[in-house]
């Protein structure tokens, strides 16, 4: 009952062109049937994410560890709430990050859980920068 060959093949890596995404905007792409949020963060959002005392977080992780160095403005996360799998809404909630409408979990501008029942931060999918404006997810 594990995924069949065609399902696995359809889950191969994808490339995403980032050049049309302006600062402060974000796009949602689908990979393996999961929505991936790619946010072009503003200076303010990055500062907010880095000003937090990491040890005080429910799932401690620094913003630097969640983005690729040199591409700090890009946040790439799987848009699936770690509680029960709903899709959080971007740019909502008290932390200017993501807000899950199902059970009220709130994530910050680094996709880290700040409030609500979700146990963990939004997962970062495996990805790398192919060029400055293109990433490969998977």
């Amino acid at each position: 009952m594990n995924p069949d060959a065609s399902t696995i093949a359809a889950g191969a890596p994808i490339e995403v062109d980032l050049s049309p995404v302006a600062e402060g905007q974000d796009i949602k792409v689908f990979w393996r049937g999961k929505p991936i949020y790619i946010s072009h963060r503003t200076k303010k959002q990055i500062e907010e994410a880095r000003a937090v005392n990491v040890a005080s977080l429910p799932d401690p992780q620094s913003d630097e560890a969640r983005v690729k160095s040199g591409h700090d403005q890009w946040l790439v996360v799987i848009g699936i709430c770690t509680h029960l799998g709903c899709i959080p809404i971007a740019h909502e909630g008290n932390y200017d990050g993501f807000f899950c409408p199902c059970h009220g979990s709130q994530y910050d501008t680094s996709g880290r859980i700040r409030q609500g029942p979700a146990p963990a931060n939004l997962a970062v999918p495996p990805y790398q920068f192919v060029s400055d404006t293109k990433i490969q997810i998977g």
């Binding site: 995924p3 393996r32 199902c102 009220g104």
Partner: protein, 687 residues
């Protein structure tokens, strides 16, 4: 099912079979000669009701499966086509969907009856545990069945419930992958759920056989909780219990038919009339009502793993009930304290159910936690404690003694008082509602409302004109074919008129012999063409918000009725939230945005649209569409007509449903009376 039978059929052919397979003897000893306690009340008929419902679900389910397509791209449409095109498909679907709710309703009554009368106590522990297993199987079956229509609630319910298993340490993720058959809920998930949904009812049927077997070995419990001692304490199953169960089933059918024919969507969720979309989560995910208490327990625990454990424990704790409650007296009738705590427990369960449907915030979360503690305290503290400290009242020596000393008809008078009070309350609230003013869509007088509602043909024809000239520029109507315009119960066009209407459209067809797509005039069998080739095109052309397809819009939109309206809606058959909302939105545009409300660029203010910012510009203005029949060409009239038309597109067989409903009710009421009088006659000498 209690040992070899001495039953001998008189027919020689049957005797021949009986010597080789004593099946007639089995049936005779289990359902004819079987001694059943004389004092059973109507709560004991729910066993028969449940067997009936299981049969009903399997029968309707097997026929539905002949027409259903388990594929992520086709499932939603195939369900709609069952409702629209299959002969009596709407009836089958309603019977099956409402049947699930009725099945759970009956099983809850059955379980609470067992709880109240101590039917789980020695020697019926195994019987009780088999019941818990049936209940668990039912929950799994019901959940998977709800996924099959592949609407928004199906999809997101499946996502939330399968994700529960990811809370399990170490194996969680692998289990979830096995459930999904992929990286997320998708087509493989739908396929395996369909397969399991078809399998599990037969497993249930198997466990039900064991359940009945265990019942017939231990014998039935009874309201007084004393075992039958002499012949005088029992009556033969047939005709006594058979006819009584028959009457119980007939009464239950009245309730069942009320939902099937008059409020099939009352127990469902409007969001499930929107096709599944993995990219959009509905703002408020709610399971079906029968899971709500457990959902409330899940959400009241802030830790994910603990929440999942609490939810499953809430059911598993039932398995241990025979040993948690060690009291010697079975029936709560003779246990003054246990009786009170039982009713408190019932109230706790109902309140948990109510909280499960509320958004998880503020006071609801706190109340949920308190009630979760109460729920578990009942099983883990109250019942074990009561069995030690409670002094039960004396139990009668035998069932026949209990019958002789039976009290008056207090229950009946309480019921009459409750009904009278309810009617008064209802009346006063109706007045309160009339004087209420807020952003809730105003009620309308729809010709199609109520048990004898019919569509106004003129309004349907005018509504079609409004749709064609205005709405069709952006909105599709993809489940409606031109032939439907000539169907009985519809706008009342002839077949020729429908064909002529179709021929005005250009339909893309092909490929032809040269391999090219071509356009041809529409035929009656064609469906209304959509204005955009796909959702993305619709989105781009309309400022980012794709105009929804209108075929089901009056069923896919609703608004919260809130407590206590949803209770009264059951009696008043109010089903028109959708049309009220659609008509209110069409008329709710205001040029002047009220103070304190900001509307983003490219959106318009609408009083009734959730959030008030709608992407659709004001679609209708006075005099925009000409009417041939002299009806006023005002926005109010246009809205009313087009909403009526869209109610018909959402449920083309509504008139047939209500008409058949009336016939069924007349039959059922007569049938129930006949059953009642037959039962009275059969039982005359036994009371």
């Amino acid at each position: 099912m209690s040992g070899p039978s001495d039953y001998q059929p008189s027919n020689p052919a049957l005797q021949w079979i009986e010597r080789r397979l004593p099946i007639m003897g089995l049936v005779h000893s289990s359902f004819v000669a079987y001694p059943t306690p004389r004092n059973l009340n109507y709560w004991w008929t729910f066993g028969a009701i449940l067997s009936f419902m299981l049969g009903m679900q399997i029968l309707t389910g097997v026929i539905l499966a002949m027409h259903y397509t388990p594929h992520a791209d086709l499932a939603f449409k195939s369900v709609e086509l069952i409702v629209r095109d299959v002969n009596f498909g709407w009836l089958l679907r309603n019977m099956h969907a409402v049947g699930a709710s009725m099945f759970f309703f009956a099983v809850y009554v059955h379980m609470l009856r067992g709880l109240y009368y101590g039917s789980y106590k020695e020697p019926r522990e195994v019987l009780w545990i088999l019941g818990v297993i049936i209940y668990l199987l039912m929950m799994a079956t019901g959940f998977m069945g709800y996924v099959l229509p592949w609407g928004q609630m199906s999809f997101w319910g499946a996502t939330v419930i399968t994700n529960l298993f990811s809370a399990i340490p170490y194996f969680g993720e692998s289990i979830v992958t096995l459930l999904w058959g992929g990286y997320s809920v998708g087509n493989p998930t739908l396929n395996r759920f369909f397969s399991l949904h078809y399998l599990l009812p037969f497993l249930i049927a198997g466990v039900v056989v064991l359940h009945v077997w265990a019942l017939h070995v231990a014998g039935q419990n009874n309201p007084d909780g004393v075992e039958p001692k002499t012949e005088k304490d029992t009556v033969p199953f047939t005709p006594h219990a058979t006819i009584k169960d028959g009457f119980g089933v007939a009464c239950f059918l009245l309730l069942y038919a009320w939902f099937i024919f008059y409020m099939p969507n009352y127990l469902g969720d409007a969001d499930n009339y929107i096709p599944a979309n993995p990219g959009v989560t509905p703002p408020h995910i709610v399971p079906e009502w029968y899971y709500l208490p457990f959902y409330a327990i899940l959400r009241s625990i802030p830790n994910k793993l603990a929440g999942v454990i609490a939810m499953f424990s809430a059911i598993i704790v039932l398995v241990f009930l025979p040993w948690l409650d060690a009291a010697k007296t079975r029936s709560s009738k003779y246990r003054p304290l246990a009786k009170q705590f039982f009713w408190i427990f019932v109230v706790v369960c109902i309140l948990l159910g109510y909280l499960g449907a509320q958004p998880p915030e503020g006071i609801y979360v706190i109340a949920g936690r308190v009630l979760t503690v109460c729920y578990f305290a009942y099983f883990l503290i109250v019942l074990p404690l009561l069995s030690r400290i409670e002094t039960p009242r004396p139990v009668p020596n035998s069932i026949s003694e209990a019958i002789l000393t039976r009290g008056g008809k207090a229950v009946a008078s309480v019921m009459v008082a409750l009904v009278a009070a309810g009617a008064l309350f209802l009346g006063s609230l109706q007045d309160a509602r009339a004087s209420e003013g807020n952003d809730r869509p105003p009620g309308n007088h729809w010709s199609f409302a109520g048990p004898f509602g019919k569509f106004d043909r003129g309004a349907l024809q005018r509504g079609l004109k409004v749709y064609k000239e205005v709405c069709a520029n952006c909105h599709g109507l993809s489940f409606i074919a031109f032939r439907n315009l000539g169907d009985p119960g519809g706008p009342g066009y002839s077949v020729a008129q429908a064909a002529a209407f179709a021929s005005e459209y250009k339909i893309k067809d092909g490929p032809n012999d040269a391999g090219d797509m071509f356009e041809r005039p529409g035929r009656p069998a064609d469906y209304f063409p959509s204005p955009f080739p796909n959702e993305q095109a619709a989105r781009v052309a309309n400022g980012g918000a794709a105009p929804p397809d209108l075929s089901l819009i009056t069923k896919a939109r609703s608004y919260g009725r809130g407590f206590p309206w949803f209770i009264f809606d059951f009696f008043t058959q109010y089903q028109e939230q959708g049309p009220d909302y659609v008509s209110a939105v069409l008329q709710g545009f205001e040029d002047k945005v009220p103070e304190g409300v900001t509307i983003p660029e490219g959106s318009y203010y609408n009083k009734y649209f959730p959030g008030h910012a709608i992407k659709m510009p004001k679609p209708l203005s006075d005099g925009q569409v000409t009417y041939d029949d002299g009806s006023p060409t005002t926005v109010a009239q246009y809205s009313k007509d087009v909403t009526t038309f869209l109610m018909w597109t959402a449920e083309p067989h509504m008139e047939a449903r209500k008409r058949l409903g009336f016939q069924v009710f007349v039959f059922l009421i007569i049938f129930a009376f006949l059953m009642y009088f037959t039962k009275k006659k059969v039982w005359r000498d036994s009371h």
